[in-house]
Subunit: 272 residues, 6 copies
Amino acid sequence: MFFHRQELQHQATPERPDAVYARKLQEVLGGQYGEITVAMQYGFQSWNIHLPGKYRDLLYGIGAEEFGHVEMLATMIAQLLEKAPLGITDEAVQNDPTVAAVIGGTDLQHAIVAGAGARPVDSMGNPWSAGYITASGNLLADFTANANAEMQGRLQVARLYHMTDDHGVRDLLAFLLARDTMHQNQWLAAAQELRDEGLEGLPVPDNFPLGKEDRDVSYQYINFSNGQHASEGRWASGPTPDGKGEFSYVAEPPAGVPMPPPTHPDARLYGT
Amino acid sequence: MFFHRQELQHQATPERPDAVYARKLQEVLGGQYGEITVAMQYGFQSWNIHLPGKYRDLLYGIGAEEFGHVEMLATMIAQLLEKAPLGITDEAVQNDPTVAAVIGGTDLQHAIVAGAGARPVDSMGNPWSAGYITASGNLLADFTANANAEMQGRLQVARLYHMTDDHGVRDLLAFLLARDTMHQNQWLAAAQELRDEGLEGLPVPDNFPLGKEDRDVSYQYINFSNGQHASEGRWASGPTPDGKGEFSYVAEPPAGVPMPPPTHPDARLYGT
Amino acid sequence: MFFHRQELQHQATPERPDAVYARKLQEVLGGQYGEITVAMQYGFQSWNIHLPGKYRDLLYGIGAEEFGHVEMLATMIAQLLEKAPLGITDEAVQNDPTVAAVIGGTDLQHAIVAGAGARPVDSMGNPWSAGYITASGNLLADFTANANAEMQGRLQVARLYHMTDDHGVRDLLAFLLARDTMHQNQWLAAAQELRDEGLEGLPVPDNFPLGKEDRDVSYQYINFSNGQHASEGRWASGPTPDGKGEFSYVAEPPAGVPMPPPTHPDARLYGT
Amino acid sequence: MFFHRQELQHQATPERPDAVYARKLQEVLGGQYGEITVAMQYGFQSWNIHLPGKYRDLLYGIGAEEFGHVEMLATMIAQLLEKAPLGITDEAVQNDPTVAAVIGGTDLQHAIVAGAGARPVDSMGNPWSAGYITASGNLLADFTANANAEMQGRLQVARLYHMTDDHGVRDLLAFLLARDTMHQNQWLAAAQELRDEGLEGLPVPDNFPLGKEDRDVSYQYINFSNGQHASEGRWASGPTPDGKGEFSYVAEPPAGVPMPPPTHPDARLYGT
Amino acid sequence: MFFHRQELQHQATPERPDAVYARKLQEVLGGQYGEITVAMQYGFQSWNIHLPGKYRDLLYGIGAEEFGHVEMLATMIAQLLEKAPLGITDEAVQNDPTVAAVIGGTDLQHAIVAGAGARPVDSMGNPWSAGYITASGNLLADFTANANAEMQGRLQVARLYHMTDDHGVRDLLAFLLARDTMHQNQWLAAAQELRDEGLEGLPVPDNFPLGKEDRDVSYQYINFSNGQHASEGRWASGPTPDGKGEFSYVAEPPAGVPMPPPTHPDARLYGT
Amino acid sequence: MFFHRQELQHQATPERPDAVYARKLQEVLGGQYGEITVAMQYGFQSWNIHLPGKYRDLLYGIGAEEFGHVEMLATMIAQLLEKAPLGITDEAVQNDPTVAAVIGGTDLQHAIVAGAGARPVDSMGNPWSAGYITASGNLLADFTANANAEMQGRLQVARLYHMTDDHGVRDLLAFLLARDTMHQNQWLAAAQELRDEGLEGLPVPDNFPLGKEDRDVSYQYINFSNGQHASEGRWASGPTPDGKGEFSYVAEPPAGVPMPPPTHPDARLYGT
Ligand SMILES: [Ca+2]
Ligand SMILES: [Ca+2]
Ligand SMILES: [Ca+2]
Ligand SMILES: [Ca+2]
Ligand SMILES: [Ca+2]
Ligand SMILES: [Ca+2]
């Protein structure tokens, strides 16, 4: 069960309206790595988890916070839109490049569809899609997905920080950056703990019988381009992170096998 | 520039057609974590990269291999479909539950749209979307995304392995599992190398000035659910993976701040 | 069968081209509540209807009008685009902020893809999706959907009215506003008539046996947030609109039940 | 802020696994009118609302409940999937039509992608899209949208009720049906209260100056099909629900106006 | 303006219900090349056309017919669904493989969402998207798109013809096949007429100054794979269809140019 | 198998950065008819082809070139973005209309998501979708689709040519225009060769028994609009392109048949 309290985790009030920035901020609300994504991702991971105890509590404990982040960003965006220019109703204004420019940079649906409200979309207006989220039932894979999501998210917030000088907006971003710092660290720590406790290991899934895979190509870097420098990386020699092999470098892909002959399906499919 | 050779990296011929399995295999061809995703993801990362040398060569060297994986799976699927039942043209057949069942489990567009060919879709028929891929320009974030993609991909192939007993199919899956093993290891090694060489670190992006974030909440686990076990994890105490702090556990979220008052946009937006 | 006549229901000619406004107008052509949506929605409702007579004739009678609204808007948009600036081919022009601003505010595909033609998209460029429409086979539910669609549509047109001072455009919008007024009234009247004639009632679907639902929570307002004012609304006390109960107000959600234990699916799915 | 408690509002445990039914139940979790839609819809409406007091508290008070409904359905689906058949690994089994049939009717991503977990998709596997939700900033329009959503939702649950005889599943559906009954009644009552209090009226938006619309066609039923029975409905004569006019019936659309001449955009767009 | 008449262009009544076939038929109603696509495509082409006269009349004259094809298919599908099995409410039935098989092969939303009605989706349940349609403002390009659409459409109908033995369904398909035959011929004839009249030519757009393109590679077949047989085709030697050159065959792609150095954007974007 | 060489087929370096133009160029990279579309389309056609020899080699030989075109455009876009303005961090700058205008016209995700890198999207930010591609297994249909794709693509590049005066960009576009010239000619030649060799003919598919279609309407132009000029086109009289009939012109659609009676599905679907 979820409960709501009419408070925000952190203050979310801009110094002044800025409809162009409101659009930019949509990215971390409704984009591929916005707050809706992590809220829903941690939600589905918690509802599907097979392990009771600390990992399950971790997912539940964080998921609800993220819905609160969605709320803070939506609230901030609605305020940034409060004095958004309605449009151009007078030729003089229409020719004022500053006004026109501002309008050119806004999310038009903020005004036309939402009446100056936040929208569940990214900065280019694409609606949020559940195709963004990951919940596989395998925690090591999913915690790696979560670490990535928090990295991409913090990167985007850091970029957005330099696109405004509004102290109210920056104050909220400073808070979100810190929480992303925590969440990056947390998922990396949790992934390591899963491995330390032997619950899952590399390569994911580590209890698929290794003998069933083609072990002769399990640690080969095979170079399908013509750059030579990849041989200098630690992915090209030395022990592998899974502790089960040694990397090797294959400068040229070995010859392949002939392609199978073309197929001939039922004539009533009218292929040529 | 890309070049094609009419060979396959590994044999891809089933023992017998199986239209139901062909549909399942679409997941690792055209799904969120299928081969099209990694091929396009490594492609965009390589075209956008800022660092010359080994990391760039790594991205180029692997990307082309993945397009070859797309080709192997498409070829395999077309063969699995070769004798796909066309449909039901006779009442006796229509009442044969085995035939009906097989048809119920197929991707109908394999026959109607592609004439027994592979499709750029997942196992439920959703067309592949570029919204699946990640290429942020920050290599530590992106290599983490890549490690996740290879984990999710190998997990799906491992699951698919048990859904067939066709030796030809399993032979291809054994090869793909091994390459996913390599690629998981490789991206984790590359992520570590970036950190060892000081090119990027935690929290990503590590050259955003830490002083600009709310450091007092950067390492707090704040528990928004009522499970108590999350306090037992290494994400709740001890040094953080970024080496810059100590985790702490906050059992109850601190009081928030009041919500800002409702907004009042231009009356001509006709809100209530 | 549908027939076309090369006339428009109402004049649709702007005083002057305005490529920025053309983009805005796309919202009510190809957006979630644009004319394509209502045309296709009334179409599918009429093709699926189970009742002969006046309700069926109503759906047929209105649907074709809406396709004509699509046509009027598309025609208007093409004219608004007639003198759209092609782009920037000269540095002097490129630095003219007015030109740049106009270009910043246009739908780029109007020029690049459609050659100054209307597009089947909304104001942010999202292609129209059949996922917007509703046709459930239950007329009371669907007429309520229709009333909502006409309300949202009229609201958007009213907002757009203030974003231009072109008399030709406003003349068309004045016509569309009036038709939306009619259609709002019509669907509300039709919904009421369904109830008056006993064809359907509240709660929809009203012939699902009420005894099969948990009647003890059928009229409770349960407050999952901490605001106290919802108790003052007519949804919190007094008779319910379906005439079958009395609203009550529950200030705190009652205790829930324990969550079921985590699941343990087949080991070959490689969960953790 | 949102908080989570590890309890469910109502018991959600099936008597026995049923992977085919799990797929069907996805519709009311992740479909156009599933629980994710209402949870997110009420969320965005509350974050964008302009009125303090009872309407705002209403939106907040209900929104969090809906996220709990998402959780109950996801939990139920994961349990229905617990013993889902993994696939076909043996020719004898492959020819068992019952097993094949079950597999034909499942959501393949439940196994391959989620490892027997719930997915944020509808019953046909389409990922949930934020394009489903409505939050316009106008409460009368939005409460009508909400009433429609609860009608469509209850209709779908009623249909699903007859597609299983599992007492555990039916017990949860009985609870959800009752809550949908409440929510239908509540939004209709709230819409009426808005009108009674003069905050908004018909036609929405009622403070757009009526004089600016084409009043001569504001209450005409214009018949674009050839059925004659629509003239018998209350939408064709008598006073209009907005109290501002009288319906009239126009059996044949009046003649239109000539289409404007074709456009001639810049030659460098290479139209024909 | 569009007008509707309550008649069908051709009879559309199945001999008996068949919910599995209803799903298959969705492909040519709401798929990439279904009737909605051609109806909307010809619509947008006609609303955007720049030429008065026969080409414009052609587009208008055909577009309305296609909306009638949408209606015939929707009507047929609703009838095919009339006796669709509701689901499984009894264990005995649940174990009847024939019933289970049928249910496995249906579009679940036909029952749950549409109450046994047609849906605006393809055979795999993907909602129709306006991203399918083409209307570029260049008639030679668009008539080629139209010819392709009618070819793909007729191909799909031909495949569907063999998936049923219902005489009523086949009777409708025989009609649609004939109309697709007409429309293929018509668009090819119209494309030829455009060329004969000098309104447009090859390469499209033919009034872009040829001198501005790299004429030395305008007619070279450059072989990026290792098959040698492409040299045998008429695309590898002889005069080109545009009448402006001679094909030549280049067995190996010439050496390329070095890639530009990696970019170095603003440091505040935090790339690596 | 695919191989990569770190070279470009043609130089791809702009004279100067231009973030607004970078966004426009996305159309021919990631739009409906961009290079990703043709690369993937030719790929799937080659993997599904049934004919060995020259047609198969043609598809393989061209597909890899198109992936190289994707790479050239992505590389160009990244360079156009190199000095993209980061945003507005200072009030003075914020009020500079030129800067604001430029920002209004950019793809915001270029900066926020990709850190000044190319994106797999079109000029309006829609992610590339596999729903754009066509691979039916019937080569005459597919080569017509390919000819259309190259026409639409060349048209878009021609339009883009006039939207910049950057010599580096125009130099690349000149190359792409020439290759599109080749590919248009090539697919038309290949389509003709298929017909000349009797592998496929008109109407597609030509081996579906013509006797099974309604031959009486196979060559009728039926006029569903009221324009009279369509009778003047060669699609209205004379021999048909398939050589199997004579066009005729039907000025008024013949009377249709009555619609079937409404359906009455199972009462438990709760229709009205
Ligand atoms: Ca967050
Ligand atoms: Ca791979
Ligand atoms: Ca309308
Ligand atoms: Ca609910
Ligand atoms: Ca047709
Ligand atoms: Ca190309």
